[in-house]
């Protein structure tokens, strides 16, 4: 059996990413990471600045693929093919299709400023999935209602608060019906009073059964919603466990030190 198959177990590994990544000058930004996220679970990634959280999420989203290793999604290679005894990332042309299984929400929202909230949500389903416009519009309106923005469909991003923009971004990602949702510090660009509305939308999404991988230092949210917390440092996964572990102190000194700083 290949390495791939042995690493794919039926319920433990809905999303599995493992491997390394080096940037230009030999800086090892992901150093033999190995992370699996069970179906329908919520994993929160924490760790100091520069520890590789964004890089890991961008690897899973196939925006900046791994050098070695691969991503498995729902039992299949995601954006990679087998090559010899390892894996190789697919050429960009094929990655375009492959990316569809994963949705991502960014720190800076990255809404399209020239399109209304509704148009932001509709763009990709209409242009890349080529689904009928009327059907997509109905679904997009429902998604915006779901994140509490049913009355904001015709506003441009500049007319929305940060919290509202981020909720549009969540609706936009959901419109592609992803199997996994990634969040890269979704609330860290927000004024404090808007954080809860975004976390609220994420909590609702988690309760609906979405598989989620979230880089965030919102430990209250992690405690309430997450199934696992993963601590990264220097491109490595240093510790992982249930959220309670991270609060009750049964963690190593590096994690302790980090938690003392952010809590």
């Amino acid at each position: 059996m290949t390495r791939t198959a042995t690493r794919t177990t039926p319920d433990g590994d809905f999303l599995h990413v493992w491997g390394s990544k080096t940037f230009g000058s030999g800086l090892r930004v992901l150093d033999d990471v190995d992370l699996s996220v069970p179906r329908g679970s919520v994993t929160v990634l924490i760790g100091p600045s520069g520890s590789g959280k964004t890089t890991l999420l961008r690897a899973v989203a196939l925006l900046a693929p791994l050098d070695t290793g691969c991503v498995l999604l729902d039992g299949r290679l995601h954006g990679y093919r087998e090559a010899g005894d390892g894996h190789r990332v697919l050429p960009e042309r094929e990655l375009v299709r492959a990316r569809l299984g994963v949705g991502m929400v960014f720190q800076n929202f990255n809404l399209f400023p020239h399109r209304t909230a509704l148009q932001n949500v509709m763009l990709a389903p209409v242009k890349t999935l080529r689904r009928p416009r009327a059907e997509v519009e109905e679904e997009a309106r429902a998604l915006l209602r779901r994140v509490g923005l049913g009355d904001r469909t015709d506003n441009y991003p500049a007319q929305l608060s940060g919290g509202q923009q981020q909720r549009v971004a969540i609706a936009r990602a959901l419109a592609m019906r992803p199997k996994v949702m990634l969040f890269d510090e979704p609330t860290s660009a927000l004024d404090p009073e808007m954080v809860h509305e975004v976390l609220g939308a994420m909590k609702e999404l988690a309760e609906s059964g979405m598989t989620m991988l979230i880089a965030s230092h919102e430990m209250g949210f992690a405690r309430e919603v997450a199934d696992r917390v993963v601590f990264m440092d220097g491109g490595r996964i240093v510790e992982q466990g249930e959220p309670e572990q991270f609060f009750t102190g049964t963690v190593g000194p590096r994690v302790r030190e980090f938690l003392d700083k952010i809590l």
Partner: protein, 244 residues
């Protein structure tokens, strides 16, 4: 020909207005050619293939770095030598447009690179390919940044067309030279021509202001000035908590 046409006589001469028309359409066509070249060459500069980047860089380097008149004369004399026989007006358009393309390439390039990379990240994660990303995400945002400079380039182009007088195209300058040769009062002829140029650029300027105001009006609601617009709007928008 009347040796003393005077200012008004010159200004109402049919051949002057025929030449003015030549200047106008020549400038518009050459500017469009420049825009098209810019829209092709600027993305090449960001291609993943190094030779394509070199082609674009070399093009800009050469055509921006040598005198435009020299380029026009060169097209005029070299094209027939390599067996390409174009009407002289086409040579003029080519000379002006290819030169303008180098400047437009730089303008388009600047506009493209000022679109945040987060925009392309978001588009790619949503499954948009390179063309769809350019068409629906990057170009609409870059277009707003291109419109202003494009308007200024058009203004320059109305005057730069005078260079094709040197290859015998009868546009405003050439027509004026010919008229001035047969008069004892060339100043009146020159003043009439200057008036026509001013009329053209003034009408263009009014058009430009109109378009820019419309773009700016859109930008207040849409554009990258997000923080400013947000500040202005923050007093107006109530923030409903998450209805979840």
């Amino acid at each position: 020909m009347n040796p003393h046409p005077g200012f008004l006589g010159s200004l109402t001469s049919g051949s002057l207005w025929a030449a003015a028309w030549t200047t106008i359409w020549l400038a518009v066509v050459a500017q469009l050619l420049g825009l098209v070249i810019g829209l092709v060459m600027a993305p090449l500069r960001r291609s993943r293939l190094a030779p394509l980047r070199w082609v674009s860089a070399a093009y800009v380097w050469f055509f921006r770095g040598s005198p435009e008149l020299l380029q026009i004369l060169a097209w005029y004399s070299v094209l027939p030598l390599v067996g390409v026989d174009l009407p002289v007006i086409a040579v003029g358009i080519l000379g002006l447009g290819v030169n303008e393309g180098a400047r437009m390439t730089e303008i388009v390039r600047g506009a493209l690179s000022s679109v945040d990379s987060g925009q392309t990240d978001a588009a790619r994660v949503l499954g948009l390919g390179p063309w769809a990303t350019a068409r629906w995400v990057v170009l609409p945002q870059a277009a707003r940044l291109i419109i202003g400079p494009l308007g200024n380039q058009m203004n320059y182009m109305f005057k730069t067309t005078s260079l094709v007088a040197f290859i015998g195209i009868v546009e405003l300058l050439r027509e004026t030279q010919q008229a001035a040769q047969f008069t004892n009062a060339p100043l009146a002829v020159y003043l009439a021509t200057a008036t026509v140029y001013l009329a053209i650029t003034s009408v263009w300027g009014a058009l430009q202001r109109f378009v820019e105001q419309r773009v700016a009006a859109g930008k207040a609601a849409v554009g990258p000035g997000r923080v400013l617009a947000r500040r202005r709007l923050s007093g107006l928008i109530e923030i409903p908590g998450a209805h979840l």
